[in-house]
Subunit: 299 residues, 4 copies
C-alpha cells in the first residue's frame, strides 16, 4: 500500500490531526526574520525521533513565498534570512575554518537541479587564497562540489563527498538537495535547514549513503528545497479530505506509478531558489560581503 | 469549479461512462501497425464536434509504450509506425511539394520541449537543393521553425508560422506540440496525429492563434505528444473513483493551483519522443530514406 | 591568393599606410562618450565606397576595452555609450514606432553567438502592450528574432527577417551580428554601429541575403562585435611587418585552412558583450529605463 | 621572448630540422591500424627526455583525419583503432581490475571540453555490478569523473582524481584532456596516447598537479586531443618559413596576446572527437562489446 512522504520536519510534525499539539519529544517555535516566517522544529532523541521518523536535531523552515509573489526586495531579504539561519546552525565554526559545499542531485532533471544550481552560485575561494593572497588572504577557504549522479560517475555522492573532504579537511560540510514536500504550497517556496545532515533516500534522486557527522566526521548542515509532491501523497491527501482514507490510490487511475507533481513554472522557480540558496551560503560563510558584493563576484 | 482537461480525442470520446459506445457523430477504429496499437477517431461535423468539443477531422493515436518498456527494436518501429500514419494524413501531397515543420513550445520547459526537440531532428533540405543539387536535387524541400515563445519574441507562434509560410509556400504544414492527457499511462507513450491543425490553448504552453487551414491556407497536420496530466484532472478522476464526484478539488489541499503531474523520468522521455517524432517526419517526407539514413544525415 | 579581411570600417580606412590621412570620400572624427573612445567614419557615395569597399553611410566604432580590463562601472557606462550612439542612428524614429531586433548567427558556435545572445537580453514588449496595458501601455512595441542558421531552418536569416517584418511592420530594424576584425586587440572590445545594414558574407557565419533598406523597406541599423581575426589576415600582417609581403601565407604551414584566431577567454567575453549590446538596445528603445530597470525586467 | 609550444611528442621530435633523423634517445615507428596512420614515439630516460622535454615513456599518435574528411566507416574504425592502442598501453591490467576515467578541462570552453565530453560517453559500470549483477556481473568496474575546473570547485583536478582514486582503488587511471599542437592540420584530427600521465600546464586549461604514477600510485594513461594551436607558435612558424626567425612575434601586431587558433568548425569537431575517445575507452575496457553495443548502452 502506498504511503505519504515528506522530507520536511515541519510537515512530519503535522502528519496527525491538524491543530493538535506537537508530538512528545518535538518542540516547535515560530518567528519572523527579514519578513519571512521561520519555524524551528527541535527533535529530541528517543520519543521525538520516533514521533517524526527523523534523526534528532534542529530543523528550521524559512518561508520564502514572497519570492514567488515577486514582493519588493524579496530576493535580498530571502538571501539574508536563510544566511542568518545557516549561520546559527554553523555554531562556533571559526571564521577561517574551511568549508565544503556539496550540491547533490542531477542537473539534467529540473526538480533535482537545486543542488548543482546552488553550487554554481557558491563563491569558491580555496584556490584564490594562495593564488591572489592580496585580495583573498582574509577569506574563508570554500570548496564546492556538484556531486553528479551515480549513473554518470559510478560513485555515490556521499562517497565522493567523503573523498573530497579528505583533501579539503573542512570544519563543516554544507549539503544542498531537492526535497519532497507534502503540501503543494511549499514547493519552491520553502527552505529547510538542519544540522542532522541528509538521510538516504531523500528528495527527487536516490542518494543512499548518508551525508552526516557519522560518515563524514564533521557537522553536515543540509539545506533542502522541496520541488515536488509525490503523486501518491497527493492522492492520499485528496482521499482523506474526501472522507475515503480507506482507499489505496494504487488501485485508482494510474496514481500508483512513479509520479511527481510540480507547478507549471518549475524551471524558473528552481532557477530562482538555487540562486537564493547559493547566495545565502556565500553571505553566511563570508559575513563581510553584501548581496551586491556577491553579485559582482559571480558575474 | 475545476474541470477535466484532455487534448486527446481518444480520451475525449471516452469521457462519459467506460465501456459505453462512441458518441453519435464519432467513429472509432483500432488496428496495429509495426506492433504499435493504433486508434483512429473520426469526428463528423455537427454532432461529433459537439460531443467531443473538437473540430471535425481525423485523429489518430499511436501507442508507443513499447519504447518506454525498452522493447527490442522499439525505436525504429515507432518511427516507421508514426511515419506511416503521417503519410496517410498528408494525402495526395505531391512528392516535391515544399513542407514547413513548426516546432511549438518552449525549449526551456521540459514538458513543453517536444516541438523544438522534434524540429532539431528534422532533416532540413530547402537550402541544400540549390546549394548541392548533385546530392539533394531529388529531395523534397523542407524548412523548419522552432517558433519560440511569445515572451521571448513578442510574436505569436501562429503569426510567425504564417509569416514564414509566406516565404516557403508549403503544400502542407506539420506542427508539433506538447499536449495534456487525462491518463497518466499515456504521458510520453502516445502520439496523436490530426489533420485539423492545432486549436488555441492546447498543451503545456499557451498558443492562442490557431494553426489550421483557415489561418494558414494549407492543411496543417498536427503531431502532439501528451507530456503532462493537469493536476485538477487527476484529482477529479481520483474523487470520481472514490465515489465523491460531488467534491471540487479546488477546495482540497492545494490542488487548485496551477499544477502538472509528470513521471519522474520526464526529461529522458521527452528527449526520446522528440527524436521519434522528428525521425517519423523525416521518413514520411522522404520515403526513400531508412531510419539508419536519417541517423547518418543528422549526426 | 589569400587576402586580408575586416568588417570594421575603421580598420578598412586604415588598410593603407599607418598615419596616412583618410582616403578621399571618407571622413573620420573621434570623441569620447561615457569614458569610451568613439570613432565616426562617414563613407560618401562613389569615391568613399570604392576606397573602403563598403556601402555609403555612417559607421560608428565604440571602444569598450574598459570592460575587459574590468574597470569600475564599465558595464553601465558601456551600455549607455552604445545606447546613445544607437539612438543617434535611429534618427527621428517616433517614440511609439515598433522595432524588430534580429539576432544573427549560430548560438552553438561561440564566436558566432553574439546575435542570439543579444536577443536574449532584449526587452520584448510587443505582446505585453495589449496583454498588460496598465504597465506597458506607454512602451514602444519591440519584437525579437534569433534568426537561427540556414542549416537548421532551410530559410535564410534575411528571408526570415523579411517575413517577420511583414507582421511586425517595424519603423526600423536592428540587426546584431558577429564580425571579423583585422586587429586582435579589437576582439570583443569594440562595437560597430552602422545605418547601412549588414552586407552578405560578413562575420563568422555566412548570411547571403542582405539586411538593408533595399531588401527590408526600412532603415536597418546593424550592431556588430568583432569576435575573430581571420587566420590568413593575421598571417599577412605578420609577414608585412616582417618585410615579406611578397609571400602568400597559403604556401606556409597550414595557414591556408579555414582558421580563426580568438582570445582564450572568448566564451566569457562573448557572454559579456552580448549583454552590453542587448542592454544598449533596451536603453535606446525605452529611454525612460535605467540599466538597473533593465536588470530587473530581465531577471 | 615567445617560444613554440606543442603537447605532441611526435611534433616535439620534429622541432629540429624537417627530414632529420630522430634525436638520440628517441625512437620512432610508423604503421597503420584500421586504416589510420599510427606513430609510436619511445622516449628513453636521460637523453630522450632531454631532447624532447617530455618524461620517458611511450607516446602513440593515431591520425584520425579520415573522420573530418567524412570517409565511409571512419567513426567505428577510429574508435577501434584508438581502443586497440589504448589496450596496448594498459598492458597486463587484469580484466576485472577497476578503472577510473578522468575527464579534464572546462565543459564551458569549447576547445577545452574534450575531457568532459569523453566522460559523457564513458560506459560507467561500477554501481551496476552490485545493483544489477544478472546483467553486469561480468563487467569491469568503471567509474568516471569530469573533474571540473579549479575556479568552480576550488580543488585541483589532480587532487580530486587522487581523492576519488582512494575510493575506487583503480588498477589504472585513464585521463582525457585537450592539448595544444604545433600544426594546424592536427587539430581535432589526432589523438595522442601515453603511459606517462599528464604533466602540469598542458592543453588549453591550466592543471598544475600532475596526474601520473608518482602522484596517483597507479599507471595513468593519458589520451589527449589537440584542439588549438598557440597564437605565438603559429607566428613563429610563419616567420621561420619567411626566413625571419630573428623576429619576435611579440613585437608584431597583437600576436603577443593570449591567443589561440582553431578551425571555424571547432564545435562540431570537439563533439565528434569526444565521442570517439569515449567509445574507444569503452571498447578497450569491455572487449566483449562492439561499437553498436556501446551506442545502445549510451542512448
Amino acid at each position: 500500500m502506498l504511503s505519504r512522504r515528506t522530507d520536511l520536519a515541519v510537515e512530519a510534525a503535522d502528519l496527525g490531526k491538524a491543530g493538535a499539539a506537537a508530538p512528545e519529544g518535538v518542540r516547535l517555535r515560530e518567528e519572523t526574520r527579514e519578513g519571512c516566517p521561520v519555524t524551528r522544529v527541535k527533535v529530541l532523541p528517543g520519543r521525538g525521533e520516533a514521533a517524526l521518523g527523523k534523526p534528532a536535531g534542529t530543523y528550521v523552515t524559512v518561508d520564502l513565498s514572497g519570492l514567488a509573489r515577486r514582493e519588493e526586495g524579496a530576493f535580498p531579504r530571502s538571501c539574508r534570512a536563510v544566511a542568518a539561519e545557516l549561520r546559527g546552525l554553523l555554531g562556533d565554526l571559526p571564521p577561517r575554518a574551511p568549508v565544503l559545499v556539496v550540491g547533490l542531485g542531477n542537473r539534467a532533471i529540473t526538480p533535482d537541479a537545486i543542488g548543482p544550481g546552488a553550487a554554481d552560485h557558491t563563491l569558491v575561494t580555496r584556490h584564490l587564497i594562495q593564488q591572489i593572497p592580496e585580495h583573498f588572504g582574509a577569506f574563508r577557504p570554500v570548496a564546492a562540489l556538484a556531486a553528479g549522479v551515480l549513473g554518470t560517475t559510478g560513485v555515490e555522492s556521499g562517497e565522493l563527498a567523503q573523498a573530497v573532504a579528505g583533501k579539503v579537511e573542512p570544519g563543516c560540510i554544507i549539503a544542498v538537495d531537492a526535497l519532497a514536500a507534502r503540501s503543494v504550497e511549499r514547493i519552491c517556496a520553502t527552505v529547510q535547514l538542519t544540522d542532522t545532515g541528509i538521510v538516504p533516500g531523500s528528495g527527487v534522486g536516490n542518494h543512499r549513503f548518508a551525508l552526516d557527522r557519522k560518515h563524514l566526521g564533521v557537522t553536515v548542515v543540509a539545506l533542502g528545497v522541496p520541488t515536488v509532491v509525490d503523486g501518491a501523497t497527493l492522492a492520499l491527501d485528496i482521499l482523506e479530505e474526501a472522507g475515503r482514507d480507506d482507499l489505496d490510490p494504487a488501485a485508482l487511475r494510474g496514481v500508483g506509478g512513479d509520479l511527481m507533481v510540480t507547478p507549471r513554472d518549475i524551471d524558473q522557480r528552481v532557477k530562482d531558489m538555487s540562486k537564493v540558496i547559493g547566495f545565502a551560503i556565500d553571505l553566511a560563510l563570508h559575513p563581510q560581503l553584501s548581496v551586491e558584493d556577491v553579485e559582482l563576484f559571480l558575474s
